[in-house]
Symmetry: C2
Subunit: 341 residues, 2 copies
């Protein structure tokens, strides 16, 4: 590989339902020349997250779809290798939206400098970055858990869910996780300190959930939808709060489920139980709240009060399979791809 | 009728679907004797409101169901005719939950004194009472309209909806009403000052609504559900707020509509558009907010900025038919039954 070669993964076609390897194309192109105010970044880690599934589609969503033949987008941690901007110099550690590729040309205004010599630079993609901020905002600004309330967290072993539960414990709540399979449930309780965790794949999952929340559910952090939400809905207490962060169960769906139409059931439950259900997208909140998040979370991480487990996949070419597995729940912890040392 | 006779309407049977006259029974019983701390009230006006449909059922709801053979509940304005409590004397004007009957025995703690000599004592059941407070709380505390935003109000000719729209105008919003039929729409625009009003019964209602909100919908005050909500949902803007006050379209429903199941569609829209959808029941908020509401609303009414149209039905025995008509949208303004002068 020549030093000007850039290996990258582009969107070859839009998935119908679950993405397949054919939706991605691995290619090598020349690294573009730098313009004024631009910086060339060598990507070291890239973050794989469920929201990327939405950007592969051209349905209406909160973000522009990725164009066919364009590089797959992703948050990245990397090192500056060349700079035509006075604020960045070769060797700087940076956070960028650098995509699924070796090198990214990024406008300086879209780069954030990271402290030099970090023990875990990839944490900027997880506990100290977007997933951590998502958990912090959704739980504290919408969920608003109070001491002794019951908080239920979907996708509890994932990066967002695991942090949601740990913050809820810090706030004095009783915290029940929901995860896919006994191994994930074990780590939710043993590593992340939830009070209990239920396997959503169990045949009697809905019954188990009902027993696990004898006082009902005050906050449900929604990351999943589908049958998990169906089990949660009848257990929501008066004045419950439901931050809607993700709906991974439906991301690959190509049509609505069969009837009856339960839209009136959901609306009626919101009314009868005086529930607040509120969707959010974390990119709306960086300007107002990211500094508060960083202050809270870095002190919690330093004190060992909140932690993350990373699932590190080695090698750019393995990103598509890792992403496909993520949508199926096969990852174990925050999924990052290590591209370079 | 002897002076101790009490004419009343009780719940004879629970409705299946829409209530019928057979669900009610008119009867005359003796007025009970007063105990210590109790007050005998002669009801003059009783309020008919959609929420009463829920109390006729024994399905889980936010209020206890009315027992079979018990008197139908209702907010009432009346006059004290006898008192065994030191705070109330014969002749006092009072607000009570006195029910569908001539006389109510009420504990003094459940009575509120009204000023003597009110021009419109029945306003305590509408613009200065529960429906007005419902509109004020739902719009200002959940809807939070900003100047130049677009507010859409369902059941816009009704007591809650008409007040919601008038307050939204005071706050500088553009206000579109939805009502049943051209006569109601005319009064929504001409009497209540909405910018426009659409007939939900029109064949091309959804198209009309889309054209009426070129900038989308920022606040939707939900009173109806059903096809009105279906037309609103795709028009909700990013960061829209949906106070859910009522769902009259489904109150008489005995089963869910046919599929597909649009619950995931609603949840997905809340997420993608970052919408807050929040149910509320006004009885939760009297302690905290009623004084603020009274201060705002009495000044607006005095200044002629907010008004109400009353639909006064004469005679207790006509209450069941009036209530059945209310659920079909046949009333025109705030429905009250005048029982006595």
């Amino acid at each position: 590989m020549r030093s000007t070669d850039n290996r990258r993964i582009v969107l070859a076609s839009r998935p119908k339902g679950a993405p397949t390897p054919e939706n991605f194309r691995f290619e090598t192109v020349a690294t573009p020349a730098l313009g004024e105010g631009e910086v060339l970044v060598r990507n070291q880690f890239l973050s794989l997250d469920p929201y990327m599934r939405g950007r592969m589609s051209d349905a209406k969503s909160y973000a522009q779809p990725i164009a066919i033949d364009a590089v797959m987008g992703a948050g990245t941690v990397g090192r500056v290798v060349a700079s035509k901007d006075k604020n960045f110099a070769e060797g700087d550690a940076v956070l960028a939206f650098g995509g699924w590729q070796d090198y990214a040309v990024v406008e300086a205004k879209d780069l954030a400098k990271l402290p030099a010599g970090l023990d875990h630079p990839s944490y900027a993609l997880s506990i100290l970055g977007m997933p951590g901020f998502t958990a912090w905002h959704g739980l504290l600004k919408i969920g608003e858990p109070k001491p002794n309330e019951t908080v239920v967290v979907a996708a509890a072993s994932g990066p967002v869910g695991s942090i949601v539960g740990q913050i809820a414990k810090l706030k004095g709540a009783r915290v029940i996780g929901i995860a896919g399979g006994p191994d994930k449930c074990r780590t939710v309780v043993e590593d992340f300190g939830f009070d209990a965790c239920l396997d959503r794949k169990a045949a009697d999952f809905a019954e188990q959930l009902k027993k696990a929340v004898p006082d009902g559910i005050d906050v449900y952090f929604e990351n999943v939808g589908g049958q998990v939400f169906d089990a949660v809905l009848p257990l929501l207490n008066v004045h419950a709060r439901v931050p809607v962060c993700g709906l991974i169960a439906s991301y690959n769906a190509t049509s609505l489920p069969d009837g009856p139409d339960r839209l009136p059931l959901l609306a009626g439950t919101l009314l009868r139980q005086r529930i607040r259900m509120q969707g959010f997208i974390i990119s709306d909140h960086y300007g107002d709240e990211f500094a508060d998040f960083q202050r809270d979370m870095s002190s919690w991480v330093a004190a060992g009060k909140v932690k993350i487990i990373e699932d590190v996949v080695e090698g750019l070419k393995n990103a598509p399979d890792a992403f496909i597995g993520l949508l199926e729940g096969q990852n174990f912890g925050k999924l990052v791809v290590k591209i370079a040392d």
